[in-house]
């Protein structure tokens, strides 16, 4: 790398080092070093570390993580695969609309998903009679709620890309519809199914908000156990050991499945054949479960947000602007909305700014740039909770201690890799010869970038900004540790209100969830309309 480029690379690398690598290092070193939260270290305690690993709590959390993730993945595939067939393989009136509706859960913040299932399955919810409140079944349903969209996107686009003549060839060889599906279509879809399953499994295994809210005090995964060990028992060593377990676990899943690398989707969904009238029952059977899984909790959430002690009204929404009663929240939810918008705007600006540096370097295809790309992607593999704890511990005693700016900082970490992925294809597509031509006409490096690279990057940068903004608005795991109680974000405010007894604050929690969902969906819709989001969908298979 040339010195000038090295200088450009410094900003994103330093940012990730300061707000991810260093804080995670602090958690590990202080936790394993045995100095806990006090200060003076007692040195590495191997016996203590092993004791954490073999404790029943730890083993239970590991097992819970595995079985919840497996079940969440299985249900997502079970509902997602038939729906992918009906929505991407066949063309029928309404299929397109339904496709975009079912892609919404993909971007919904997990805390909103958790609120929706609380509204549905809680003791006063329309399906409270199931007795699923605070049960693994509720968590699995919520995990499937947003991961069905992952399966739809990844498998659906692959399905639409299968040459229909391949299946026709099998039919001329005597294969019935089922035989075609089993012997030709599924084998061709297998790579897509595998990568959808891997990504879904990872999302399930690292899910925080959903398990925290719906699992109550009884169900803990590695991710929630990390938080619990710290906030309930102040046991930094256990938190650090579990953080390593989580790192190894996520690393192993990525290594075994290639999740994240193979998700790049080849083609937009253009194929598909017109559905026959006779297929109507099959289409209904294939799509209804997925639609119900989306619509029923969504409707329950809206209904609960409107429900008050005496009937239905907008009182909960009006209450968002008032000073909350008692000490549930230090400020009105309206202030939390402003906090979230501000943090999201700063995080989006930072993510796009740093991301532009990364993709510009990537476009020049140096080896160092690829390393930088890897460094920037690191926070996606690290638990958000560990990053939040790390930032809290690393910066409390500094001038940044308690600062509001830590909130957008950790949100930028989560948004940056997504911003890079949104812009990288466009940056790579810029022809080096165009740059050479511009340079030969007398343009310096800055003006080459300004007149050759930037025009190609402008639209993707807008999409990246929208994604980064939406992801920041919904970020909960890391934010919950760095946002101060007197300056909550919308996600931390919802979590606090959900935990408060009393119909008023719970009603406000649901109303705030609806507001957050609408904000995120609006941002995504505007961005998809403003710029072609196709490039992004093709490139990005991940979710924050």
């Amino acid at each position: 790398m040339r010195p000038a480029r090295l200088l450009l690379a410094l900003a994103p690398a330093a940012f990730v080092a300061a707000f991810a690598l260093y804080p995670v290092g602090v958690v590990l070193v202080r936790g394993l070093g045995g100095d806990g939260l006090g200060g003076e270290g007692s040195g590495l305690d191997l016996a203590g570390t092993l004791a954490v690993l073999t404790e029943p709590r730890t083993l239970r959390a590991m097992w819970t993580t595995v079985y919840l993730s497996l079940a969440g993945t299985a249900v997502s595939l079970l509902l997602g695969l038939p729906a992918a067939w009906a929505l991407y393989r066949l063309r029928w009136p309404g299929a397109r609309t339904l496709r975009s509706v079912l892609s919404v859960p993909f971007v919904l913040p997990t805390i909103v998903v958790a609120a929706a299932f609380t509204a549905l399955l809680g003791s006063s919810g329309p399906m409270g009679w199931l007795g699923w409140d605070q049960s693994p079944a509720a968590i699995v349903a919520a995990l499937a709620f947003y991961n069905v969209s992952v399966v739809l996107r990844v498998v659906g686009t692959a399905w639409a890309g299968i040459d229909p003549r391949r299946e026709a060839a099998a039919a001329t060889l005597g294969a019935s519809n089922w035989q075609v599906l089993r012997n030709v279509t599924l084998p061709a879809l297998l790579p897509a199914i595998r990568s959808a399953a891997a990504v879904t499994f990872l999302f399930c295994a690292t899910s925080y908000g959903v398990v925290l809210v719906l699992g109550g005090s009884r169900i803990a995964t590695i991710e929630t156990e990390i938080a619990l060990q710290l906030t309930l028992f102040l046991d930094l060593r256990a938190a650090a050991v579990l953080a390593i377990v989580q790192l190894v676990f996520v690393g192993a899943v990525i290594a075994l499945t290639g999740a994240g690398r193979t998700v790049g989707l080849s083609a937009a969904a253009t194929g598909g054949r017109r559905a026959r009238a006779a297929q109507t029952p099959a289409i209904l059977a294939a799509t209804l479960p997925a639609v119900a899984l989306f619509a029923v909790p969504a409707i329950a959430l809206v209904e609960r947000s409107l429900r008050t002690a005496d009937g239905h009204s907008l009182a909960n929404f009006a209450g968002l602007l008032a000073q909350p009663e008692r000490a549930a929240l230090a400020v009105p939810v309206g202030q939390a909305i402003l906090n979230s918008l501000a943090a999201g705007a700063v995080a989006a600006a930072l993510a796009v700014g740093l991301g532009l540096l990364v993709v510009t370097l990537l476009a020049h295809q140096s080896r160092g740039a690829r390393a930088l790309d890897g460094i920037v992607a690191l926070p996606l593999g690290v638990s958000a909770v560990v990053i939040g704890i790390g930032v809290l511990l690393a910066y409390s005693a500094t001038a940044l201690g308690g600062s509001w700016w830590l909130v957008p900082a950790v949100q930028t970490l989560v948004a940056l890799p997504l911003a890079v992925r949104a812009m990288a294809p466009a940056a790579r597509a810029v022809s080096p010869r165009a740059r050479a031509a511009a340079a030969s006409l007398g343009a310096g490096p800055w003006r080459v970038w300004r007149h050759v690279d930037w025009p190609a990057l402008r639209a993707p940068a807008g999409v990246a900004a929208a994604f980064a903004f939406a992801v920041s608005l919904g970020e909960f795991g890391a934010t919950s540790f760095v946002a101060r109680p007197d300056a909550p974000t919308l996600t931390t405010a919802i979590y606090r209100l959900l935990g408060r007894p009393g119909i008023e604050s719970v009603g406000q929690a649901f109303a705030a969830s609806v507001v957050l969902a609408v904000m995120v969906a609006a941002v995504m819709m505007v961005s998809e309309r403003a710029a072609s989001a196709r490039a992004l969908e093709r490139e990005w298979g991940g979710r924050a």
């Binding site: 006090g38 549930a328 402003l338 705007a345 101060r484 408060r500 007894p501």
Partner: protein, 338 residues
């Protein structure tokens, strides 16, 4: 077209950044790190960190602000347990200047971590006791339980709702009561209680408001975990409908103290003095259902009749609590929740 869009985007970004700056500025008084310590003028605001059951009448807060000139802001990061842990985690950049609501089941942890500057002041106390539904036992051939040990039996366990000590402070207090009452056999007690079907909820409000069979609530459990001060609130038409079992109590004491690294230590002292003043002490029973800790402050008349204190509540040495709290909770979790 394109230019318009770019301009619009820039405008939006500018608004957002302005918004961010405002929010950051708003948040400044709470973020009391080192930034304000060198400031020339004295801070005008004092921040009280407390648990989320905190409540005092508006006029008391107004008179505090009028007398001292400090604006009081209240921050509640969670219930009593979460409060202490938040204080420890953020001690280098404290959430505020002064704390109220740390109780004797958790205080040693915070003291040991160096969260406080100076000593803690006792502000109030209350007895965590089993309460029972008078009408249920009047209609039943069963007598109300006499001791804690009774509720592990097949007769009483299915009638009893308690709270999880890992998530609720009365739950932890009651766990400590069982440890104090049956030092050698509290594990056996809980194993029996769980085997005989005792109900466990996550929070006091679930147990009291949802499960209690008292006329005001209509749940299914005639024995619930609550406070000695609960029965006065269940007097219907001048007649009590519930009573506390005064031989099952654990005394919870709540403290106030100045936080180390506080931005406004003198304001913090003023808040502690205010909490100990006769006016606030007299308001405590009606506001937070606790007894005032300062001698000579009157309690409401019906408290004497319906909310007598336990004569010899159970207690556990704070040092012992601190050494064993996590182990006891973990053992309890294994025995009862599994």
């Amino acid at each position: 077209m394109r230019t318009t869009r770019t301009v619009a985007a820039l405008g939006a970004a500018a608004i957002a950044i302005t918004l961010a700056a405002c929010t950051a500025a708003d948040a400044e008084p709470g973020s009391t790190a080192s930034a304000t310590s060198g400031a020339p003028e004295a801070p005008s605001e004092v921040t009280l960190v407390t648990h989320d059951s905190f409540y005092l009448p508006e006029d008391l807060i107004a008179s505090f602000e009028a007398e001292t000139g400090f604006a009081l802001s209240v921050v509640a990061p969670g219930d009593a347990g979460a409060l202490v842990n938040q204080l420890v985690l953020t001690q280098d950049a404290p959430l505020g200047d002064v704390v109220y609501g740390v109780d004797n089941t958790f205080a040693s942890r915070a003291v040991e971590a160096g969260v406080f500057e100076g000593n803690l002041a006792e502000v109030d106390y209350s007895d965590v006791c089993l309460n029972y539904d008078l009408a249920f036992f009047a209609d039943s051939s069963l007598e109300p339980p006499a001791t804690i040990a009774d509720i592990a039996t097949p007769e009483y366990a299915p009638l009893t709702s308690v709270t999880n000590p890992a998530t609720s402070s009365p739950g932890l207090a009651f766990l400590l009561a069982t440890v104090a009452a049956m030092p050698d056999d509290w594990e056996g007690f809980w194993a029996d209680a769980a085997g005989n079907g005792i109900r466990v909820t996550a929070s006091w409000s679930d147990t009291y408001y949802t499960d209690f069979s008292a006329p005001n609530y209509g749940g299914d459990y005639p024995i619930v975990l609550s406070y000695a001060s609960s029965p006065p609130f269940e007097v219907v038409d001048g007649e009590p409908t519930t009573a506390a079992l005064l031989d099952t109590c654990f005394r919870q004491v709540e403290y106030a103290g100045v936080l180390a690294n506080a931005a406004n230590p003198s304001g913090a002292e003023a808040v502690v003095d205010w909490l100990l003043s006769d006016e606030v002490q007299a308001a405590l029973p009606e506001s937070m259902y606790v007894y005032p800790a300062v001698d000579g402050v009157d309690v409401p008349a019906d408290w004497a009749a319906y909310a007598p204190l336990a004569e010899s509540p159970f207690s556990v040495d704070p040092a012992e609590i601190d050494a064993n709290r996590e182990a006891w909770i973990e053992t309890w979790t294994d025995l009862v929740i599994g």
